[in-house]
Symmetry: C2
Subunit: 222 residues, 2 copies
Amino acid sequence: MTKASDRAYSMIRAMILSGELVAGDPVREEALAERCGVSRTPVREALRRLEVDLMIRKTDSQRSFVADWSLDDVGDAFELRAMLEGHAAKRAARNMTDDVLKQLRSCNTAIEAAISGRKPDVATFLDRNREFHALVLKTAGSRRLTTLLTALIEQPVVWRTAHHYSPEAFRRSHSEHDDLLAAFGRRDGAWAETIMAGHIRRAFHAYSDAHLDMKAQERGAA
Amino acid sequence: MTKASDRAYSMIRAMILSGELVAGDPVREEALAERCGVSRTPVREALRRLEVDLMIRKTDSQRSFVADWSLDDVGDAFELRAMLEGHAAKRAARNMTDDVLKQLRSCNTAIEAAISGRKPDVATFLDRNREFHALVLKTAGSRRLTTLLTALIEQPVVWRTAHHYSPEAFRRSHSEHDDLLAAFGRRDGAWAETIMAGHIRRAFHAYSDAHLDMKAQERGAA
DNA sequence: CCATTCTGTATTGTATACAATTTGGGTGAG
DNA sequence: CTCACCCAAATTGTATACAATACAGAATGG
């Protein structure tokens, strides 16, 4: 991960996630190259990867822009995630081992700790949540499914709005993970699939509420 | 499509599809560059694209190999396609217009013509079949879904074995397209989804039969 | 006044040279 | 004989220069 192209990828991704690069903004290779302290070659590679992640959009003439996510777009992505992660959960249930189960439990315990205080530790929540889902995906044991889903998980807007989630939303998320653990413990693929699909759909609505709330606050501040 | 990187992409893809590059073979950038009459830069870009198509696999140290597809892998890919194309069909049914319907009908008529002779015109069949599915995908109207599916459709082994499909398999495929047209005509998303999912699953078994048959023939010839 | 073409400028695409890394094998010590 | 290490060759990663292309604004004709 010390390669220039990886550095460029991480840095540009961070710029988008942090909102430094705003959706719809044009993105010029040379400017980014200078900013990242590398040449255009690794920047081009990074942009290509970010395009697959759907964080960068290219026009017909190959000019790059920061992807703009309308609420419909996000809903669309969540719908696909619900389907694919549900599928992953079903497969994971079939392949589940006691060892993985233990790791998943540990993840969810960490999540519980992160959100139980008065001020939820959002960074830890996101981190452990990501780890939980990554573990399920890995256990599903399908390279192709992994490839498809990683493109969907990197959603800038989601990360920015997570800080506005309600305490209730965090608790729900944790509790649904517990349900998943129960399904996994019984190797019940169909159950796991249902829970996971619902989990993602609920996450969408949590996002949606937080997003609207955030927009309202912004409007109030302006 | 006149750009060097596109040429390189098409040429390398063709080499893999034709079996000129065998699964598991190491792939060196410079050799391909010379072969394609371009420099390494566009070849590198082409290889990255082929990697997301899952036709090229890279080791931890970034060396490229032609991806090997076990029957399980292919089955896995078809399972995902069934799910995603089913979803696409459901959405397409909702957005269907008379114009698109007409184009789809024309596609399927061409398919019928291609397979009704004694010797089926496999190239035309594959072409029109691809066009049919692409049209459905486009009508589904989800950029993300399109991105995900295009990575799955490019399956080298499938194309090579299509020539060994049974006449029955071709006829079934055509007839299922007709069913889809009926579902689209009535804007019945649920019906379209079911048919499409079944269509893809059947295609897998047609592939599977043809593949085994082909392997047997190879063994006999050797 | 509007549309259109032309032209300078900004931006991306490609080639090439060079740097960094990996690989494979040979050599010497144990 | 084996294992570890190190060096030479092969291969990928990066920088840079140049070529091709797209964009925007001015000039021109209707």
